[in-house]
């Protein structure tokens, strides 16, 4: 994306349009049943000639479909001497049969076998996704080849990006991703509340430089929901539809600012409170909070002969909020944006009380992980049951992403330095705490099952 100084001189503004959003063929490589040719046949039938190949490499147990990946910077296009290949706005790399002279330069340039020369016509041939209803995917019964509406999330997050300029957070910060996702879903008719911590740089900016287009309040750590109460009530009183939305960390939420949150939930204030949980005071250099995972190394729960990280299990703030009978409560993760977006929609719809979303947002800095690890850590937290995804309306629960077969805990713990000291015993102890938390949520879902709004028995 090209950047140039904006009108203010001291800012940079994007000048190129973002790449077109598109849906995509998703192929799980090498996992097809050997000998299956359903996709190839369906394509040949629909398009006259098959534009998808089935690879059967028995020696390496690789069986899978191969077709054009609709590259962002297609090598075939660049190699074509006649300009017969263009990348359309939709993201489809399209071949113009009329202009093709059949030289084969494209097929030579593509490392993926995504474009081939058709012996019958003497022209190139490639997948054009059948206008969004690909015959191959419709024919695939195993799900190894699927048509994924990757643009659905973008459509769901239909509002413009909330940021006006660069954000001074660590590169790869999951909190920033969570904030961006949240306000692309919520839109600009909101007042955003932050508290001292990394999120104040997201919501409020620094000095006279505002980072977002949103009206924002840099609250105290001790009074976010109470300030929101006053603002939300006054906005309603003045007839505005503007929502009060908090985006604050776990220290504020679970520790020093829990009392007003509990009060606002009990009173049923019509506010949306998003806690981004990075399990500690990351802005001040990674001290433990009450949501820090058991066993985790922080600056205040060090590892040494006398102690092996945090001794206590995390406070399950989301469950506590649900036990208030809050209008809507959910856990979400930066790794599952569709789920997060759907929950944001339900949170906004719950105008009759407090909506609380506990967003898992690993801090790779404080958790001692590589810069690009935060989302993967978050995904592993979900897949290992460390962080269950669920929601509750008025104290009625359901798991939104049940994990029937959890991945081994080591797949999660191995991704970050803060847990690397855990030996087998340590991992087992952590595993027991993780299972207990997950089973508690399962039990709540069974005992107090979710009810659709308006259903009998709902409040």
């Amino acid at each position: 994306m090209a950047l140039r100084p904006g009108p203010a001189g001291d800012r940079v503004t994007a000048v190129t349009a973002p790449p077109a959003l598109r849906d995509t063929l998703c192929i799980e490589w090498g996992a097809c049943p050997p000998g299956c040719r359903d996709c190839v046949e369906a394509c040949a039938l629909a398009r006259g000639v098959a534009r998808v190949t089935a690879l059967d490499l028995a020696e390496v147990s690789f069986h899978g479909a191969l077709t054009c990946g609709q590259c962002g910077e297609p090598a075939c296009r660049d190699a074509c001497p006649t300009g017969a290949i263009v990348r359309e706005e939709s993201g489809v790399v399209r071949l113009d049969q009329e202009r093709c002279v059949g030289c084969g330069a494209c097929a030579g340039a593509c490392a993926w076998g995504g474009i081939t020369l058709d012996a019958v016509t003497g022209r190139a041939s490639k997948c054009d996704t059948c206008g969004g209803r690909p015959a191959c995917a419709l024919a695939c019964t195993t799900g190894r080849l699927r048509w994924v509406e990757t643009s659905a999330l973008a459509r769901r997050l239909g509002h413009p990006d909330p940021f006006t300029q660069g954000v001074s957070l660590c590169p790869g910060c999951a909190a920033e991703l969570g904030f961006r996702t949240a306000f692309r879903a919520i839109g600009p008719d909101a007042v955003v509340f932050a508290a001292p911590g990394c999120a104040c740089m997201l919501a409020c900016g620094l000095g006279t430089a505002a980072t977002t287009r949103l009206p924002s309040v840099m609250s105290l750590m001790t009074n976010v929901p109470s300030l929101m109460t006053g603002v939300a009530r006054q906005l309603r009183r003045s007839g505005a539809r503007t929502r009060a939305v908090a985006f604050v960390g776990d220290g504020t939420t679970a520790d020093v600012g829990f009392q007003p949150l509990s009060g606002a939930a009990e009173r049923g204030e019509p506010i949306v409170y998003i806690c981004y949980d990075n399990e500690g005071y990351m802005n001040t250099g990674a001290q433990r909070s009450s949501t820090t995972l058991q066993g985790a190394r922080t600056m205040t729960t060090p590892v040494g002969p006398g102690q092996a990280g945090k001794r206590q299990v995390p406070k399950d703030v989301a469950v506590l909020m649900a036990m208030h009978g809050a209008a809507y409560v959910a856990t979400a993760s930066v790794s599952h944006p569709e789920d997060f977006a759907a929950k944001l929609e339900r949170a906004l719809a719950a105008e009759d009380g407090l909506a609380y979303i506990h967003l898992y947002a690993p801090c790779h800095v404080g958790w001692q992980a590589p810069m690009d690890a935060a989302v993967e850590i978050a995904r592993m937290a979900v897949l290992t049951r460390v962080f269950p995804l669920w929601e509750a309306r008025r104290g009625r629960f359901r798991l939104t992403h049940p994990i029937a077969h959890p991945r081994p805990l080591g797949d999660f713990a191995g991704l970050m330095g803060r847990l690397r000291h855990l030996d087998e015993d340590g991992l087992r102890a952590l595993g027991r705490a993780v299972e207990e938390r997950y089973r508690r949520v399962e039990a709540l879902c069974a005992a107090l099952p979710w009810q659709e709004p308006g259903a009998a028995g709902g409040r």
Partner: protein
């Protein structure tokens, strides 16, 4: 000037009547003695349809003030009330309110601080926040409580001021003691509170996004502090003129930031604030009858401090006596005394001063004690030695 009805009510009730007349948008409060009856009166008025405000029964004082700040930040008129430890529990929000320049009004029915524990009257609580950047009015009577609330909103919402305002009154002595109070007419109050300067101030709105409580580093910070001081000065400058406007509208006047009582030719000047000023006035009257030339300077506006007007009153006195109901530890004197001494530093000639600390934890400052205090001051003026700080009712 409008005709008004006289009703007998205690200070909390008078405060409630004043608040209702100001038509707030939001009232948030948490119970604490001795302000609780005020809160109850407001919630009752709300239930009976005499108060249109949104009421929020918060879970603590920090939240009470914070909800009020939020409503004011979104353009509303907000009210809250507290006392003693409640005021301490909202301290971070207290500083946030003034730094953020939101026009919240909060009454404080003053009370001692724990520990030692007591719920009795005293001015220690409000003195603990004197440098917190709020405008602070301190009433002498139930009537003045009501009237000061109207003045408080006028000052708070004036674009030249735009600061939160405290109206303090002595717990129990005023909060629970009944007096006849003239209740102004709603129309007159509405006119008095008509938005100054069109009521335009920066508010939270999605249509015109602003950042409240921006994160500041460096030079810009001094600019905010400097403007805050300018707003304080503006409040002081406006207070005296506002007193005349109040007289025209309601037929009562108080002297603006400072009330001068029988100060003409006074050899001795007493300085005080709050309900015992009334007792001091009686003492002054009686001693004047005996031929003692004594007067009283009653500080109505403790912040901003009416330094110049007070210095003018101090000038040329033989001695000055200051009565405090709070203690500044380390100075080991009363808070007002320390400030009066600072104001006296502007004078060319030194004035002997003596401080009387009394009335702590609700002990009575009786007329005889205050008369004795005047006599002590008089003796100091004649050169008799004695301690600078005299503790009244010391066990």
């Amino acid at each position: 000037m409008t005709t008004t009805a006289l009703r007998v009510m205690d200070g909390n009730k008078a405060a409630a009547v004043g608040v209702i007349l100001c038509r707030p948008d939001l009232v948030a409060s948490y119970p604490i003695s001795p302000q609780t009856p005020l809160l109850e009166a407001l919630y009752r008025a709300r239930a009976e349809g005499r108060l249109e405000a949104d009421t929020v029964e918060v879970e603590g004082e920090n939240s009470a003030l914070s909800a009020a700040i939020g409503a004011a930040a979104a353009g509303g008129r907000a009210f809250t009330a507290t006392s003693s430890m409640g005021l301490m529990f909202m301290y971070d929000a207290y500083l946030f309110a003034s730094g953020q320049r939101v026009p919240v009004v909060m009454t404080v029915a003053t009370r001692e601080q724990s520990a030692p524990h007591t719920v009795s009257s005293g001015q220690q609580d409000i003195m603990m926040v004197k440098d917190g950047g709020w405008v602070q009015l301190i009433a002498e009577s139930c009537q003045e409580i009501l009237d000061s609330i109207l003045v408080a909103y006028r000052l708070a919402e004036d674009p030249r001021v735009q600061l939160p305002v405290n109206v303090s009154y002595d717990g129990y002595y005023l909060s629970h003691l009944s007096e006849p109070v003239a209740v102004p007419e709603q129309g007159a109050v509405d006119r008095f509170l008509a938005p100054v300067g069109g009521g335009k101030r920066p508010v939270l709105s999605a249509a015109a996004p602003l950042t409240f409580g921006a994160f500041i580093v460096g030079d810009l910070y001094a600019g905010y502090r400097y403007k805050h001081c300018q707003a304080m000065q503006a409040a002081l400058d406006l207070a005296d003129g506002l007193d005349g406007e109040f007289l025209a509208a309601f037929g009562r006047e108080y002297g603006g930031s400072l009330e001068a009582y029988r100060v003409e030719d006074a050899e001795i000047l007493m300085v005080a604030m709050g309900s015992h000023s009334g007792t001091l006035k009686v003492a002054v009257d009686r001693l004047r009858d005996e031929g003692v030339a004594v007067g009283l300077a009653r500080v109505r506006m403790f912040r901003p401090f009416p330094r110049a007007r007070l210095a003018a009153l101090l000038r040329g006195r033989r001695a000055v006596g200051v009565v405090d109901r709070s203690v500044s530890f380390g100075w080991n004197a009363g808070h007002l005394f320390v400030d009066v001494k600072a104001a006296a530093a502007d004078l060319e000639a030194r004035v002997p001063m003596v401080n009387f600390i009394g009335g702590l934890a609700g002990t009575d400052l009786r007329r005889e004690m205050l008369e004795a205090a005047v006599r002590t001051t008089l003796a100091r003026g004649r050169g008799e030695p004695g301690p600078e700080v005299v503790w009244l009712n010391l066990e």
